[in-house]
Symmetry: C2
Subunit: 342 residues, 2 copies
C-alpha cells in the first residue's frame, strides 16, 4: 500500500464531512487542497474554522462552486459526503470524475448501485473508465459492518448455507443527528407517520444485503425489509434529548434475503438510545461455522470517517471504474501515527 | 466475482492437498484437470481413490511429472500444497507460472516473502508478470487469522496505536499431523532438542507480522520471536495420542514487532492438546478501539482448505505478479451450495 502523498478535496461539510476534513488535515500523506459546500454559513470560511478550535488556518476556503474548486485544487481523490441518495449526487460525482479525481463517497446508495440504479451506475462507471479514475461508495454501514465484514467472515469456508448479521448501536452514545435520524423521542404515532412519509430508517441495508449476496455469488429471489420502532422501557436522557418510557427510542430495521428457496441472508440492525450494549456479530452457518463478534461494536461516528479516509489509497490504486468494497483490496487503516513517526 | 468455470490442477496430495482436491471436485465451477505428487504410493492412481470412499472416479490420475501434467491439463489455476519453505518450492512454482497458470500456494513463506526471500520473490514476481499470471501464498494462518483479519479489523480506524492478535487452537480437535507438528506427547527435553534441531513450531508467524506491518505502513524496527512448550496439566487423550501430565501438550509461539520505539504489534499463538476452548481475537488500540473475537476460533483443518480454494477466483482475476493477501480483494467463500443451486 502506497503512503505517497495524495491531494484531497472534501466535498460536503456536514458533521461527517467536517470530521473527515479534520482527519485529512491530521494525516501527513494527505494534503487538503479544496473544500466544497453550498451552505452560505460555510462558504468563504477557512476549513479550520469549521473543524475545531485547535486547528491552525489551512488556507483552504470553502467554495460553493465545485467546478472551480476541483480545477483549482486538482485533487487526486475527492472525499464526498453530501446525501444518502444517488439521485441527488450523480451529477456531483460526475463532476469529480470529469475533473480526473478518484472518489470515495458516503452516499449509501452508491455502495451497491447496480441493482436499483443501473443507469446512474452505468454512467458513473463509463465516465470513470474514460477518465481513468475509480469510485467507491463506503462508510461503516453500508461499507463495512454489515457487508464487507460478513463477506470476509466466510473467507475460510468450504461451504456456506446462511449468513446472519446483527448490529446493535446505542444511539445515545452517537452524535445528535443520528439520534434524530432514528426517531429518538418521537411518539409511536409520529414514527408511523414519518415512516409513511418517505425515506426513513437506515439507508443502505438493502445495498449491504445485495453486496453480500453478490460477493457470495448468491441469486436473491426476494428481499423482505421491515422497519419497526424500538420503544423506550424507561426514561432515557442522552444529553441531547430526553426520551420518555413508551416513546420511540430508535429503529429496528431488518432485511432478509431468499436464496435457493430459503432465508439464508439476514441483516438485523437496531439503533436506539438506551441500548444496554453495542455490538456487531456475524454468524456463518457453514464449514467451518463462524461466530464473530465485535465486543462493544464498531463505533460508527469514528469508523465512518475512518472508512472514508482509509479508502482513499485503495481507490487511488484501483483499476478505473465504479467499484464496490468487494472489488477493492482488504481495507485497513492508513497513515496512522506510528507509521508517520516511524 | 466471476463464477465462471476454472480449470484446476492440484499440486501436492498430502492431507491438505487431498482435502483441497475433494473440495475442488465438489464445486461446480471448478474442474479438476490434473494432480501431481511424487509419492510412489500415489502416482498413477485416480484422485478419487485418495480423497474419499464416496467419490466417483474422476479420470484424473496422479502424476509425478509436473511439467507433463501442467501441459496436458492446461489449468487456469494451480492449488499448490507441498512444503512450508520457499527454498524447496520456488522451482515448482516457476514451473506452474511458466505453464501459464495462476497459483495459490499454502507455502507459508510465500505469504510475505519480500523481506526474507527477496530473490525468489523477485524471480516469481518477474516470471508471473512475463506470463501474465498471479500468485499468492495463503491459508488460514498465515493468510487469514493472524494477518488479513487483523488488517481488516483496523479498516474503520482513524488512528491505530497497537494491534494485538491471539489465536488459541485446541490441537486435540485437529488432524493428527498437526498434533505431531506441535510436539504433543514430547518430553520437555525432547521439545528443546527438536527446537534446537531446525524448523519447529508454527511456520509463518513472522510472515504474518510483516504482512500486518506492511499493510499498515509501519516500519518494523525489530521482531522478537519466542517458542515455548505448553505443558499438559493432566492426562490428555486425543484419540491419536496420549499426553501425560507434565509432557508437552503443544506450542506457545509469539512474535512481537517494535514500531516507533514500542511493541505495537503482537501475535500470540497457542496450539496444544487439551485447550479449554479455541478462539481468535484481535484487539486494536485505536480510534475507535476494536475488540474482535471469533468464538470457538476459526477451525484450521477446514479453513485452510477454504482459503486456498476461495483464493482461486481472486488470483484468476488479479493483475499479473506475486501478490499478498493484502493486495487481493476481500476474500470470501466461493461457489457455495446455495450459489450452485440458485
Amino acid at each position: 500500500m502506497p503512503t505517497d502523498s495524495l491531494r484531497v478535496l472534501q466535498y460536503g461539510l456536514g458533521p461527517i464531512g467536517q470530521a473527515v476534513a479534520r482527519t485529512v488535515l491530521e494525516k501527513e500523506p494527505l494534503t487538503l487542497v479544496g473544500a466544497v459546500d453550498i451552505d452560505p454559513d460555510k462558504t468563504g470560511r477557512d476549513v479550520a474554522d469549521l473543524v475545531g478550535d485547535d486547528v491552525s488556518p489551512t488556507g483552504v476556503h470553502v467554495s460553493d462552486d465545485a467546478e472551480t474548486a476541483l480545477a483549482d485544487g486538482a485533487p487526486d481523490v475527492v472525499l464526498h459526503t453530501t446525501t444518502s441518495f444517488l439521485e441527488g449526487v450523480t451529477e456531483q460525482l460526475l463532476r469529480c470524475v470529469r475533473a480526473g479525481a478518484h472518489v470515495v463517497s458516503s452516499t449509501e446508495e452508491l455502495s451497491f448501485p447496480h441493482h436499483w440504479s443501473p443507469d446512474p451506475a452505468d454512467r458513473l462507471d463509463r465516465a470513470a473508465q474514460e477518465e481513468g479514475v475509480a469510485l467507491v461508495g463506503t462508510g461503516v454501514n453500508p461499507g463495512y459492518a454489515m457487508d464487507t465484514v460478513p463477506l470476509m467472515a466466510t473467507a475460510g469456508c468450504t461451504d456456506v448455507q446462511a449468513v446472519h448479521v446483527e448490529r446493535v448501536v446505542d444511539a445515545g452514545k452517537r452524535r445528535e443527528p443520528l439520534q434524530a435520524k432514528v426517531g429518538a423521542g418521537l411518539s409511536p404515532e409520529a414514527f408511523e407517520e414519518k415512516k409513511e412519509g418517505g425515506p426513513f430508517g437506515h439507508i443502505g441495508l438493502r445495498e449491504s444485503l445485495r453486496l453480500v449476496a453478490d460477493g457470495l455469488g448468491w441469486s436473491l429471489e426476494g428481499i423482505t425489509e421491515e422497519l419497526q420502532p424500538v420503544r423506550a422501557d424507561e426514561l432515557v436522557n442522552t444529553g441531547f434529548r430526553q426520551v420518555a418510557a413508551g416513546q420511540v427510542a430508535g429503529i429496528h430495521h431488518t432485511a432478509v434475503g431468499q436464496v435457493a428457496g430459503e432465508s439464508r441472508l439476514s441483516l438485523d440492525l437496531k439503533m436506539y438510545v438506551g441500548a444496554d450494549e453495542s455490538y456487531d456479530t456475524v454468524t456463518v452457518d457453514g464449514s467451518p461455522p463462524i461466530d464473530l463478534r465485535f465486543q462493544g461494536g464498531i463505533f460508527g461516528d469514528t469508523a465512518t470517517v475512518g472508512m472514508l479516509v482509509n479508502a482513499a489509497p485503495l481507490v487511488a490504486n484501483a483499476s478505473p471504474g465504479l467499484h464496490t468494497m468487494a472489488d477493492l483490496p482488504v481495507p485497513r487503516a492508513f497513515a496512522t501515527s506510528p507509521a508517520v513517526s516511524a
